[in-house]
Amino acid sequence: MLNQKIDRRDLLVAGAGLALAGCGVGNSGSGSKKETEKVVKAKPDGDLVYFNWAEYLDPALIKKFEKRYGVKVRQSNFDSMSSMMAKLRSGNRYDVIFPDQSFAPKLIAANQLLKIDKEQLKNYDNVWKFFHDPAYDKGAEHTVPYGLYATGILWNEEKVSDMTGSWADLFKTDAKGKIYMLDDFQECLGMANLRHGFDLSTTNPDEIDKSKEMLIDQKPLLRGYSTDDIQNMINGNAWIHHGWNGDVVNLRNQVKNPEAYRFEKCKEGIPVGSDTMAIPANAQHPGTALLFIDFMLEPENASQNVAYFGYPMAVTGAEAAFAKIAKDDPAVNITVEDVQNGQQFASLTGEDKALWDRAWTEVKAA
């Protein structure tokens, strides 16, 4: 042992190997088209590596799926689309992910999503016809719709009154220090764009500049930026929260006074969208992933999930479950018409993305 000489060349080789591996991780960007066209059968081929927003799928359904197919679901969560992208970029491998409609096209363009063979999904016919050919994924080749959402304002009626149904409610001076904005560059700049009467996804630098100023002027009123609207409302830090329609339903399930928590869709226009289920091209268990997606499209499971997370799903047979939730509160409902007519976030790239990023950094740093 003592006589063993460590060769300097061995060290260099080992080091270089690791360095190259490191570069490889940094470059795991665009895959090949062929990689996305693998033939996959919907049958269990291992545990499901699941990557979604937190509290965005009924845990009871995860248990049911595990039991039915004899696999484990290994869960992890992201807190923004950007952090999902960062995790994918750093080489983590997942079997099922939930990109929204503005990020799905980027992943598709970069050959990062597996083509989903609809023949393998027994329940695919349950998906609303509109989503068989959505603008974000021609022919729905790579994605299956998941939750439909709208961005608006949540508030606690025991603490604030005189809500006006306008984005101006996020600037209410009598709730100073109790207002949160979503910690999301598109949602925040998008809100300011709508309030100004600009296009939701404007890339006009003057307009973005005005929206940026509006957000900076709003800062003294804010308690913080956060996507955790549910917890912030529950622990009383927030009276008014820029947030998503379904979260108010989820939130009502967790408090003693559910009727106090309200939601409004603002009259200047709202961002509406759909999240999707997709399988990364480098998934190690795509067969299980197909089973999982199909499982979520079963009307019974979709209904159960809708009742849990409070978002409508574009699944025929789950409408009743949502109607039950929305009965007292049409504000939280989203119909297929909303999705068709509402403003949707554009998939920003290049200079446009840089413009938005810079404005957002200025808002946060101010």
């Binding site: 570069c23 665009s30 950007s82 952090s83 622990n235 009383g236 946060k364």
Partner: protein
């Protein structure tokens, strides 16, 4: 095999570890800091020094000043809390000494992020602490602890206090007890003895603690992220935003590199001062 050769061989595991887990990642950060990004946010290596130009935007000056301000306040508070604790343990800990030091280190068994989340639950407007305050009737309404400058500094102090206590403890423990007695023999009051004997003798420990607390506190983002509000953005948050929010790793890497240079400056100052002190001690 000579003894020296054997000693050199012993350096191999540590050297390898440093090479793979420090030098290589650092080189990747440097390489990324001159890169650009594609539409997916992937880094494309290249030559784009403008990432650094962007970092010198006056926009970021308040962010840097705020970070340094928080870090200085953190060092001051850690010193105020840490010195007496270290002093007590070193001088009066007796047979409990090692046990007490273990208790100081104990919270580190739980991840900093998790511990910070616990503070969120404790200090929320309708959290446990405010619940107690309103129930006991001290005040009708709770106190707004969270999302303030104080909460961020408090989080930093909580997170890094042990880094202050340990070096000071070592310095006091090492100090010759006879020096204090000599001070008293010369009719020094307790305060004068402390000022002219104990403090100078343990100052290197204080300096080490200050550096160990200051450096990570400047770059911290967890405290401001979880306990801070809209006006507590730190350099660490700015960097994290580039990596996880803006998909702009090259700019984030450039900021990281500049922060490293800034922190290294203080590190070098400290090392020189420590070297001078040990030279003087040798004389």
């Amino acid at each position: 095999m000579s003894e020296q050769r054997f000693a050199t061989t012993l350096l191999v595991p540590g050297g390898l570890w440093l090479l793979l887990c420090f030098a290589v990642p650092l080189a990747l950060v440097l390489a990324a800091s001159f890169g650009s990004t594609d539409d997916l946010g992937n880094t494309i290596y290249g030559w784009h020094p403008e990432n650094y130009e962007q970092a010198f935007d006056p926009l970021f000056v308040p962010v840097l000043l705020r970070s340094v301000g928080y870090a200085v306040a953190t060092v001051a508070l850690c010193l105020l809390i840490g010195y007496p604790v270290a002093y007590y343990i070193a001088r009066y800990g007796g047979r409990w000494k090692h046990m007490l030091i273990a208790l100081v280190v104990l919270p580190f068994f739980v991840n900093y992020l998790v511990r910070t989340y616990a503070w969120v639950a404790l200090l929320a407007d309708e959290g446990l602490v405010n619940g107690a305050i309103t129930n006991v009737g001290v005040r009708d309404t709770g106190i707004k602890f969270l999302n303030t400058d104080f909460a961020v500094i408090g989080g930093l102090v909580y997170g890094y206090l042990a880094f202050m206590i340990l070096p000071i403890y070592a310095a006091i423990d090492r100090m010759d007890q006879a020096l204090v007695e000599a001070g008293k023999d010369l009719y020094g009051t307790p305060w004068n003895t402390f000022r002219h004997v104990t403090w100078p003798a343990t100052f290197q420990g204080v300096l080490a603690g200050a550096v160990l607390v200051f450096l990570p506190a400047v770059g911290d983002f967890i405290s401001a992220q979880l306990l801070g509000g809209p006006g507590t953005y730190m350099v660490g948050n700015l960097i994290q935003q580039q990596f996880l929010g803006a998909d702009n790793w090259p700019f984030g890497a450039a900021l990281t590199t500049l922060l490293l240079v800034f922190l290294s400056f203080w590190m070098v100052l400290y090392l020189r001062s420590a070297a001078r002190a040990s030279r003087e001690a040798a004389v």
